[in-house]
Amino acid sequence: MDMWEIPFLICFPLVVSVLMFCIRINKIRNAVAYVSAVIIMLMTGVLTVHWGMNGFAPAEFYVETELVDHFILGAEILLMLVVTFLSFKYNRPWVSLLSIVPTAVIAWLELEGPELDAISHIKVDHLSILMCIIIGIIGSLIVIYAVGYMHGYQHYHTEIPDRRYYFFMILFIFLGAMFGFVLSDSLLWIDLFWETTSVCSFLLIGYTQQEEAIHNSFRALWMNLLGGCALCVGIVYFALDQGTASLSVLVEQGTGQAPASVQVAIALIAFAALTKAAQLPFSKWLLGAMVAPTPSSALLHSATMVKAGIYVLFRLAPAMSGNMTGTMISFIGGFTFLSASIMAIAQSDGKKVLAMSTISNLGLMVACAGVGRPETIWAGCFLMIFHAVSKSLLFQDIGATENSLHSRDVEEMHGLLYRLPVLALFMFIGICGMFLAPFGMLISKWAALKASVDENNIILVFFICFGSATTSFYWTKWLGKLIAHTNRPPVRDITKKNEMISLSIHAVLMLALCILFPFLSSVYVEPLLMEMFSESNQVISNNVLYILIILICFFFAVPFLAYIYEKNVKTNKKLSYMNGINTGKNDAFMGSMGAEKELVLANLYFKDICGQRKLMNPSIAITTAVIIIMMCMIIASALGGGMI
């Protein structure tokens, strides 16, 4: 069996990126970008169907890849050169060390190291196809959105040099690297794609080349490269000791009585995944990434970058179940879930709320992976799917809203449903997808809570109970802002057609996922778990499943029917109560000096209790300490020969 789609999906975006760089006429480049995005989307579909026609069985390819291996090594060195050049150019030479050292180590392993076992370099299974679908669909939609958005962006931000050719080049390299990342089984290949995504995100964040952007991009770079170092060390140690560099072998050996090198490698790779998934103490790079144009934030937050970390942790999950690495990962994840959601309460900048909530949701997924039971991975998969779609929708929507409203402050969105109806509706759907009941997030939380109780993970139970309370707080108050009554005039919606297309597809996807997810669970996610843990385990019993389906119907039907019923009830309008001094339009009152005062309603933010300034540093300190201590314990106990 051969799947030509796989090399196509990895190489095609790279070819397109070269085209993007070469074509300097906007119209032609945009057309090429559209066509390529659609082709990528279609090819993802073709890959899925092709794989499905072969019976949804895991498949392995490409055992003999000598030529490609050399190419991979070359690319790795090229990346190192790029990083070194840029870090010297921007006067931060020490960053280059984080790239030179691991590259040298990997190069040594490949050229001088012992002969490694022949392995298949590409592996296709349920998890990687799931990731491909997310990357293919969401990623391509973001590209389509970016074409329209960047046009407006360059139009309004004249101080930023127009380097769209460069921007789109990086976007496509990013997509290609992500496909390569999730489809590879060879750790050496994974390492290259890992470093590629790190460097791409660095370049995207620094796109505007302003002081703040450069500062933030280097922060993202060193944090991710630090993870890359850990990944490299883990890979090399594992390869030297076991004579192979296959991810699946690593996970296989990690379950049960694992040799020391495997334990250490898993701990190091899991640590690397924490940096990529922007968990505390490494969350700051994702917050700093907000300076980049919106499409790149959408890409980093929803479909690609951060999901790479989650993907690796899911892969490693069977090997982390019940050991110390798992405990560390689930603690860090749970802690991040709670503290990021508390910090999100204090944010009024829409994009920052989204960033915080991304970190917090990723924390929950990381915690799920750390527990490493089928139930939690089930929850984690749904969290990932719902999060990818709704975050991408929200980021694109807030970008479009900012273009029309000239602000992305949540306070400015008072009554947005009457002022910018379409965008506000999309925002509403996206936010509901993040926490309300008929959508999958809530049911995933339910499953995660249940599984962590089963696993006796007390601290995670606390994190989930408190975290879900704070999460609903900041989302609900945002939703309330959108629907609140206002008299302010409507805003002209200047959203481009292609942005609208992307947004509508996302919204439809969101609703479809909500309705279809019980079926998705039995058709796709349960086989995924079967494959991963090779034990049959129905996560949600049929009983609960039926209740769920009934619930979903109810949740859509009740407000709808209530609306139909109430539409015909005769009501009379009256003024809102302002102690009798409402001036007649509900938006102002008569002050004591006889002058009209405008009514301004603001949400609660508790900035002095849960502001980022107050909580960020302590959280970083706690998590850093936990990681250092736990890593030392893991390595010591593995090398000391004891099993904990």
Partner: protein
Amino acid sequence: MNIKRSPWLLHYDGSSCNGCDIEVLASLTPVYDAERLGVENTGDPMQADILLITGGINTQNAPVVKQLYDQMPRPKVVVAVGICACTGGVFKETYNILGGADKVIPVDIYVPGCAARPQSIIDGIIQARELFQQRSDEHDALMRSQKGAANV
């Protein structure tokens, strides 16, 4: 339907000397306990059935009284408590007083006195709730007859 068992009050203080207000509150608190009649003192016109006004109407609070009255859903009853709310009382001739509450809204029950005694205030409330019931019944009858007319 019997609705007089639940008359909820909105108490508004116009330009009173606070004598009547103290008496109004006295009639709602333990000693006279108007709550045994189902009375609740809400602060919200939206939920109120009976508007209790104390003190005269001056130029500044006239629109306020009007607005509060408009915010109350029908059927509703207005009770003017104390002589100032009834006619303007001793302040009637001052430059800023327009007169009693009936200068801006239709008053149904007048409770005289300076200050009005709790007994008479509660008596006013009892009369008001009868009127409240009566208005509701009249409205029902009107609705029925309209429906009957439509059917014919």
